[in-house]
Amino acid sequence: MRAFLLRRLLQAIPVLLGVTALTFLLLQLAPGDVLTTLAQNPMVSAETLDSLRRRFGLDQPWYVQYLLYLRNIVLRLDFGESFARHQPVFAVLREGLGNTLVLATAAAVVTWGLAIPLGVWAAARRGRPADRVLTAVASASLAVPELLSGLLLLLFAARSGWFPIGGMHSPGWERMAWGARMLDVARHLALPALVVGLVPLAARMRQMRSSLLDVLHQEYVTAARARGLSERRVLFRHALRNALNPMITLFGFTLGALVSGSFVAEVVFAWPGLGRITVEALQSEDRYLVMGAVVMSTLVLMAGNLIADLMLVVADPRMRDV
């Protein structure tokens, strides 16, 4: 177990080096440098620009700049400065990642909380109208791009007035009581979480349905029925336990997509998460922030995959020697 973990962590190092080098290279290709936007601001003096240039090593060749960038990340978690927000990049990323995780977790709760019961229900009613309707709705939902479902729900929010349109807090949130704050965030969370969760919900429901149908065809289920157990008891006590196993594996695999899955919803609903921050950084040519966000999102993806693998190892002893 420890060797497995160590090996995975060591394997991550070249990938991260590659990702930082790649993003660094891409930003070198763009015209100008990190200070170009700042230099257009008449309030910023030439002396300030010069001192910034020295501080970030911009007067050095690109490979020195890259090594400097890497050293600052490794030694001090210093991803550079966001010139558009006047904040260290790491502080911006940490806040964005937190908001993204709030949204992603809410979406995951919706997804799994609905997908399992709906999948079980569809499997239990196989071939009957309820199953057909659910399966058809799921197939249709899988094809709807998030950008469209997001904008349609935004239209719904704007016309009905039942939900706030975008953002994470109402004005005056800081002065609200604790309970009112929670309620306010939940109201802002509902529609974006639905957008993030819709496609995974349809996919997981179909997987749950087929997994349970597989199990229901096995002999021990027939044996349980032959013993005269009620259909309810067969389904919940005997079949469901085994049908849930593959779903646990799937849950692990979706951990990695947790952060990237909410990107579009964040942009449409102005949710202040990592995805929205990245888009804003691109639009304001805030280069250290773009680089930091790409590195951060890759890190989270890799961490998610690692946790998923660890869950597999814990759940299945046969994986321990791999």
Binding site: P31, L151, S260, V268, T298
Partner: protein, 360 residues
């Protein structure tokens, strides 16, 4: 046509949903090709008297109940300049004329004309309404289709070329070439897709003229797309490399390039065709997303993405919903049609498909 391809085509024809999707797509591309002729106005033609004009109904019966031989619209007048509401003037029916001369355009470079399918003698008809600058939404939809629909095809063509070439070379050459290409593809696949999209976009200047923007979008999407494809092609190439007919071709004196292009890669084609069809919606949505964010195809040029981007404000959502509905419907129909066609192709080309026996 080769035998398996013909068999797949027949299987596809029997799949009613997939063939309907293919016809819909065909129609969409014809509409896009004829766009400037079908559009009554140019994509950037501003009408300062008709900001936010709602879609106009084509009428056949006038106020006195008389049936007209050709459709007409009522002239409209701005009723409230703050809310942008317009009222019809039933006293002034404006007949829609067919094949009218209007703004000049070029269907292809060099093919110039000023003939439009329909228009009015005076004033404008906006069947799908106008945008905040009074530009005709139908015209922008048709011009935008030329960009949004071709980005997918050009992008996928480049991705396929790259994926087949690099995957084939990696699988066939092995050694350090293989290792280097595979490490590079792993690197690209380890960055979450939309973050990679933004990172790649940041390598280009913030504002781009339409032609450059188009090329940049295609380049970005191809760089993202080739990695996954190349890895599958590499795996297939390695399997095919060890077959007897490849050994036979080599024994007959064929060089590695000839073996790769003539004997190995053709055997990956049914996979490649399905993978390409399934991937097209992703490319179309990639352009839509970038233009929606304002970093893809930029105004005044039209694309479905930047049309959708106009519909983000609360004002538009509550008062001018056609600005969202029109591009959204176009995107939805296109993406759906490609998905259904892809599913149909997968069934048709799957060698284990029911009743078809083994393909190839």
């Amino acid at each position: 046509m080769s035998e398996p391809a013909g068999r797949a085509l027949r299987a596809l024809q029997r799949n009613r949903v997939a063939s309907a999707a293919a016809w819909v797509l065909g129609a969409l591309y014809v509409l896009a090709a004829l766009g400037p002729f079908l559009a009554p106005y140019a994509e950037d033609s501003i009408d300062r008297s008709r900001f936010y004009h709602p879609p106009q109904r084509l009428r056949w019966l006038d106020a006195s109940g008389r049936l007209h031989a050709s459709p007409f619209v009522y002239a409209t007048r701005l009723a409230d300049a703050r809310e942008w509401t317009y009222v019809d003037d039933p006293a002034a029916p404006l007949p829609v004329r067919w094949l009218v001369h209007g703004e000049p355009y070029a269907l292809l470079p060099g093919v110039r004309s000023d003939l439009h399918l329909f228009g009015l003698d005076a004033g404008r008809v906006n069947v799908l309404g106008t945008d905040p600058l009074g530009r005709d939404v139908l015209s922008r939809l048709l011009y935008g289709a030329r960009i949004s629909l071709t980005v997918g095809l050009v992008g996928i063509a480049i991705t396929l070329t790259l994926g087949l070439a690099l995957g084939g070379i990696a699988g066939f050459a092995g050694g350090w070439v293989d290792a280097a290409l595979m490490r590079l593809s792993e690197l690209l696949l380890s960055i979450p897709g939309l973050y990679l999209l933004i990172a790649l976009r940041s390598a280009f200047p913030a504002t781009l003229p339409p032609g450059r923007a188009y090329l940049a979008i295609v380049a970005i999407l191809s760089v993202i797309g080739w990695a996954a494809l190349a890895r599958v092609i590499r795996g297939m190439t390695r399997a095919i490399r060890n077959t007897e007919y490849v050994a036979a071709a080599t024994a007959l004196g064929a060089g590695p390039a000839r073996v790769l292009v003539r004997h190995v890669l053709p055997n990956t084609f049914s996979f490649v065709i399905v993978a390409a069809t399934v991937a097209v919606p992703g490319y179309i949505l990639g352009e839509v997303f970038l233009s929606f964010l304002g970093v893809g195809v930029q105004e005044p040029a039209a694309s479905w993405g930047n049309m959708l981007g106009q519909a983000r404000s609360l004002r538009v959502l509550t008062s001018f919903p056609w600005l969202l509905a029109v591009p959204a419907a176009a995107i939805f129909v296109t993406v759906m049609a490609f998905n259904l066609l892809g599913d149909g192709l997968r069934d048709a080309l799957d060698p284990r498909g029911a009743g078809e026996g083994r393909g190839r």
